[in-house]
Subunit: 612 residues, 2 copies
């Protein structure tokens, strides 16, 4: 989506919106940490994010990578910064091509800073002397594909303090095809408002987005303001200077100062704020909190679909996915990233051989072997492993091999039942409760446009001991509302599903639209997921050396247990699946492979217990 549309929407509705800016970190670990942070900050609800241009070699590549990551995996609408004077035409074109391929449709076109070691700045390529040259070049090369933003300088620019001349340049950039302006940071709201007036007097009508720099520490506040030559109101210094050594106090006072500035700007008719996060979450979050702009149960973050959409090239129309990857979003996108199209919003063909590829990026275990061993400890029996799942459900562990992110909020509804199952050695990999027509703005279940209703069929996916499987199969097949698929690592498939095709397990009914059915259960994709699910467990086992009991128990489970999914097709009832599993317990819960039972012996040693 073009940023000008996002800004127009805020104008039209009068509901203010905001965006975040990030820059390429210096280390690989920094990059990974930033991705994790960005993922959490997604839930603050920014309408788009900017990735600044990392001038030179690796940094430039990193900008492109971050844009891909943001668009494809994190679900952010991204705006890529691009400088021109320090790059040749070829490099500029290369960056644009990468942005295009990532599905990115927004570029902030900048001149580029002069290299630090030169007194006076010189252009690398004679084609690009000014940002306006880059604007013209992008328009010429890509037509209207990219929405183009340009920088505005309410307090002057590094090498040009002449406001009129800067306004001349701004007018030229807009005339060349820029459709929005993002300003440099400032703390003087009155000056900004005055400057906006001057911009408008020049006949520049495109939206102006103020750049807001939250206050993290006193030192960084001063340093940045000085670096940008940005005027600090006296009142601010009077309030911050006395507490300058108390970071907490600085942030508390700073958030109010910045929020007050934001309110002043909004009162002047601005509808969108752009936050310079400096790759940190806290200071920005505090300002948003102070403005009461963070999502809350009363005002939940709006999702178009129940899963996070990929905005990668050709994927914007995707609106159907198998439920199996619900907790493995990145793996699903990685598996399907080479698919050419999503006709009717769906993977082109789940029979594509690419669907089964297990060596693509993102499909393996999250985290290093060492990290994981530390996180998941040294389980030596089924009960130990089941305990990890209980701790995950209790939010004491933030990821598991089959779930890349902390447990979803909606699992709280069935948490008690899930924990109960795990305690009996039925290891729950994935689940969703039944929902019979919740309003689409429901804080937990809601997604999609307003005034709609959303539905879910109850779903449960488990690892099941082979001794238990025949009885579970018998019980499920006895029940008219349940359909299931079960499969071993070797691929022995059992199912009572009459149709091979998809079973919609999540759907929504919205005004003026067709029914949207974003999540399905389907045989062919379950078989693809099966490979991944057993592979993940095997990779976990390999975190331990050969002969280690943890490795043995994990391998035993992977090699002999069943992966079972159950759908309750009667979405009016949620509890049926748990009722059907009542009284079942895996045998040998405490048995250590090749050794004695671990701790207190378990009563059930073999086969199936009678149901109560």
């Amino acid at each position: 989506m073009h940023i000008r549309e996002i800004l127009a929407e805020a104008e039209r509705t009068g509901n203010p919106s905001f965006s975040f800016e990030y820059f390429p970190p210096k280390t690989a670990q920094g990059v990974q940490n930033l991705y994790d942070r960005m993922e959490r900050m997604y839930n603050f609800g920014p309408k788009f994010i900017d990735i600044t241009w990392g001038a030179g070699g690796r940094n430039a590549e990193l900008t492109c990578e971050m844009v891909v990551q943001a668009q494809t995996y994190l679900g952010f609408e991204a705006c890529m910064h691009l400088t021109c004077t320090d790059m040749g035409e070829e490099k500029v074109n290369d960056a644009l091509r990468k942005a295009y391929k990532a599905g990115c449709t927004n570029i902030l076109a900048l001149r580029g800073d002069p290299p630090r070691d030169k007194e006076k700045w010189e252009a690398t390529d004679s084609k690009f002397r000014y940002a306006r040259d880059l604007v013209a070049h992008i328009r010429q090369t890509y037509g209207n594909h990219f929405d183009i933003g340009v920088a505005g300088y309410p307090e002057g620019c590094d090498d040009n303090k002449d406001e009129e001349s800067l306004l001349d340049h701004l007018k030229e950039k807009v005339d060349m095809g820029a459709s929005f302006i993002v300003t440099q940071m400032f703390y003087d709201a009155d000056n900004f408002i005055r400057w906006v007036g001057k911009v408008r007097e020049r006949g520049i009508t495109v939206p102006i987005v103020p750049g807001i720099m939250p206050i993290a520490t006193y030192a960084s506040f001063l340093r940045r303001a000085n670096h940008m030559n940005c005027k600090i109101p006296e009142e601010w210094m009077a309030k911050l200077e006395p507490v300058k050594n108390d970071d907490v106090a600085v942030r508390d006072i700073g958030k109010v100062l910045v929020a007050d500035m934001c309110r002043k700007i909004l009162a002047a008719g601005i509808r969108h704020l752009h936050f310079y996060t400096m790759n940190l979450a806290q200071a920005t979050r505090m300002v948003l909190e102070e403005l009461d702009w963070l999502p809350s149960p009363d005002r939940p973050l709006k999702h178009a679909l129940p899963w996070k959409q990929s905005l990668g090239l050709g994927r914007r129309t995707e609106d159907v996915r198998p439920i199996f990857w619900r907790n493995r979003n990145k793996s699903y996108i990685a598996r399907t990233q080479d698919w050419d199209e999503f006709p009717n919003g769906r993977w082109g063909d789940s029979r594509s051989p690419a669907f089964g590829e297990l060596d693509a990026y993102g499909i393996g275990l999250t985290g290093s072997n060492e990290q994981n061993r530390k996180k998941w400890g040294e389980p030596t029996c089924v009960r130990d492993i089941a305990d990890l799942f209980v701790r995950y459900l209790n939010k004491e562990i933030d990821y598991l091999p089959w779930s890349e992110a902390p447990v979803a909020e909606e699992a709280d509804l069935i948490k008690k039942d899930l924990i109960e199952l795990n305690k009996r050695g039925l290891i729950t990999v994935n689940s969703q409760p039944a929902v019979n027509g919740a309003k689409s703005n429901h804080p937990v279940h809601g997604w999609g446009p307003s005034n709609g209703y959303v539905y879910q069929k109850a779903y449960l996916e488990m690892l099941i001991a082979p001794e238990l499987f025949p009885e579970i199969k018998r019980r499920i097949e006895h029940h008219p509302d349940l359909t299931y698929h079960a499969v071993t690592k070797a691929g022995n498939l059992y199912t009572n599903a009459q149709f091979e095709g998809p079973n919609a397990v999540t759907w929504g009914v919205f005004p003026g639209k067709e029914i949207v059915q974003p999540t399905i259960v389907e045989r062919i994709s379950f078989l693809a997921w099966k490979d991944e699910a057993f592979q993940l467990g095997t990779e976990w086992a390999r975190c331990y050396e050969a002969g280690n009991p943890s490795r043995l128990i994990l391998e035993e489970i992977m090699n002999t247990w069943y992966l079972v999914n159950i759908v309750n097709n009667d979405f009016h009832r949620g509890e049926t699946i748990f009722e059907v599993l009542e009284g079942l317990e895996a045998p040998n819960l405490d048995k250590v492979p090749g050794g004695q039972a671990n701790g207190v012996a378990n009563g059930a040693t073999n086969g199936v217990e009678a149901s109560t």
Copy 2:
């Protein structure tokens, strides 16, 4: 669907099923009447129908036509009879090609009667001496496309009374590839059961379908039995002969005799009965009633979709249609019959120019001008026309220009509101009530597989006087749940629908399947329907000569009124649309064009009345 599958399903479930046989009538009017009758008999619930082969020229063509009609428009699974000895190979191939094109997948392969004027029968084409030759030819030419039935003769055949030799022939026919047997008529159940035993002894294992001839009159009963040399049990004669001049008594006694015979056959393990209807409904209906096999509110006829599917070639997967043709099924099929495919069960492209063709068969007014003038009388003002719609809703008129069949049962739920609207000059063309999750076997709203839930958004389509339109538009646009499209004959379109795409107004949720959404409202198809709707009114006007007041008032409505559809997107509420239209009344309800008001003058003469 192959008849062998239908028969296997009856075997599998133990639920008996039945089928009807029709023959090509002699006159064009007879054909039209038969189609009407077949349409009514569709609701008895036959699993398929047979069309007998009309030997020679026009009659053979008529058989093919009837197969097309049955498959394409009437929604019957058809089995085409085909004789071979009186036809050359070319004619046989031509008939098969026509059956194939109609989507027909079942052939009853017959030898053919000897021409009456020849003592001994001779084959026309040396390739075809026996029915088995035709069976072999069909298998050779079409592989498994056609399911092939053959005739069985429990009481001997016209020119062969030798049971053993007939059983030899039957075995040969089955060995050549026939997969079911339909017997000639008989009244002696014991003999039939004995004969079935002989068939099985021969190692013939395909299903045997007994041909049942209901009793309409004593004369026809005797004539047919004698013609077929079929033994009449003494008890039957003893009961029927005494009342032979009382047709009603003959039918009443006959239905019990035939039903008792059917019960005997069923008790012997037969699961499907084939009725020789002789193109009449009553006698067959009485037997079905006696067997308690007719659909009832407790045991409704199962529909796969809420509209009658076309089984034409390539259309079996069609599962989405615009709501506008809900009452003009034939016209919709005719408009779309040349479409090559229905990808995702939907018209390939509603932008196809063919969609707008108004001169295809079946698109115009049902009935002749004279018939229609007689049926609809001589309306001279809006109130007269609205009265016709009230009478249609009260089932006093069985069709209107915009509705080819009597009003649907579900309209009863909103009948009072619809009549009220018509009385105020808001002429209701099409409607459906809201349904919030009725069980899929609901007697009125239900459709689709068992254990599902079906939903509808309330829908109303009307002709609206131009003076009323601005107020209606204002009220609808004021309501957050309503979307509408309005258009004049000239094509001025008004809508508040945000998306151009389809709005699903009927959908169903079923175990193990995707959501099925068979009925939609959509702009592009509404515009195509607009042309047809105004054309139909114009054709109605032309039933009257120029200058006739009926013609004038109908033309005025077509030329100046709006066609308006409204969807209430909140399917939890049904009454909203009627509430929104409260208190509105068309002006000049009694005004005769070019003349004085007709009858009592109406208070509202101009524009919009205040809402109450």
